[in-house]
Amino acid sequence: MDFITGGAHNGKLAWALQHYEGEAAVIRQRNAFDKGAASLVIVDQVETMIGERNDAQKFFQKLMDWERDNDVRQLVFIGTDITSGIVPMEAKDRKWRDDVGFQYQQFMKDAEAVYRIWFGIPQQIK
């Protein structure tokens, strides 16, 4: 599993689609995961999933298990960094931000490679 992060509107998905060769199945928000899909799966906007899905962690684990089952499979998580800026007024937003920070720490540990995209330019940080 690779993890790609960076700010909003920094060209993360565009870079991933160029970097990873082959046809990619891109999963977003509440889209279900089709087991018959391509060998390259890119999960975009994971920050939204973390905020909206109670089963987000289980969902990520299921995808990582799928990747582990076959060597040709490649899983890529893309998450926007929403952890900076001033502390949000709403408690649910503070929780969302915390959950995203914790989950990204976990992705950093589990990932084989991690890239931070800075306005279209990649910086490999793991």
Binding site: G7, A8, F119, I121
Partner: protein, 177 residues
């Protein structure tokens, strides 16, 4: 040569860029100020930057140009600093409230290209506004989309791309020497 500089507030973007430009072989140094001083805090920030340039070891020509940056004319003997994309985008958004964001971006890119084409060296400063929670205000999200798209374009277009991190430059693209 085009240099793109981006970072958070008070990360030393202007100071770093001015230091780079003092070493420039270009004969004339120009500063394009896009910020409009509308309140005391902004006046204070502007005079702080003006004071720095007054004390500088080289002379600077300052152009106050909140919107029409393409109306300035330069030659290859000029090194030009545009400070900054974010205030310029703000001014243009206010001026063209009815325009669709992508149309506005097209216009902005044309103006930037016109500016980039003229001088010997161009330095363009922008701000990091992309690493926080989405705003409940759609205008703020549109603003972040426009600034992000402009920053991506400038990073791709540049010969040097520098992220300022609390006063330290991190080069994402670098020119030798």
């Amino acid at each position: 040569m085009i240099t793109f500089i981006c970072g958070g507030v008070r990360s030393g973007k202007t100071g770093f860029t001015e230091m780079q430009m003092l070493k420039s072989k270009c004969e004339n140094l120009h500063y394009i100020a896009t910020g409009v001083a509308t309140d005391e805090e902004m006046i204070e920030r502007v005079s702080h930057h003006q004071e720095d340039r007054r004390k500088s070891e080289r002379a600077w020509l300052t152009w106050e140009q909140p919107t029409k940056i393409n109306e300035l004319t330069f030659s290859w003997e000029d090194a030009v600093l545009l400070d900054c994309i974010t205030t310029w985008v703000t001014n243009k958004m206010i001026q063209h409230e009815d325009l669709d964001p992508d149309q506005l971006i097209d216009g902005l890119l044309n103006q930037v290209e016109a500016l980039i084409a003229q001088p010997g060296e161009v330095y363009i400063i922008s701000n990091e506004v992309s690493r926080e929670l989405p705003s409940p205000f759609s205008m703020v999200e549109t603003y972040k989309y426009i600034v992000g798209t402009m920053n991506q374009h400038l990073a791709a277009r540049s010969d040097q791309a520098v992220e300022m991190v609390f006063g330290e430059p991190v080069f994402h693209k670098e020119v030798d020497g």
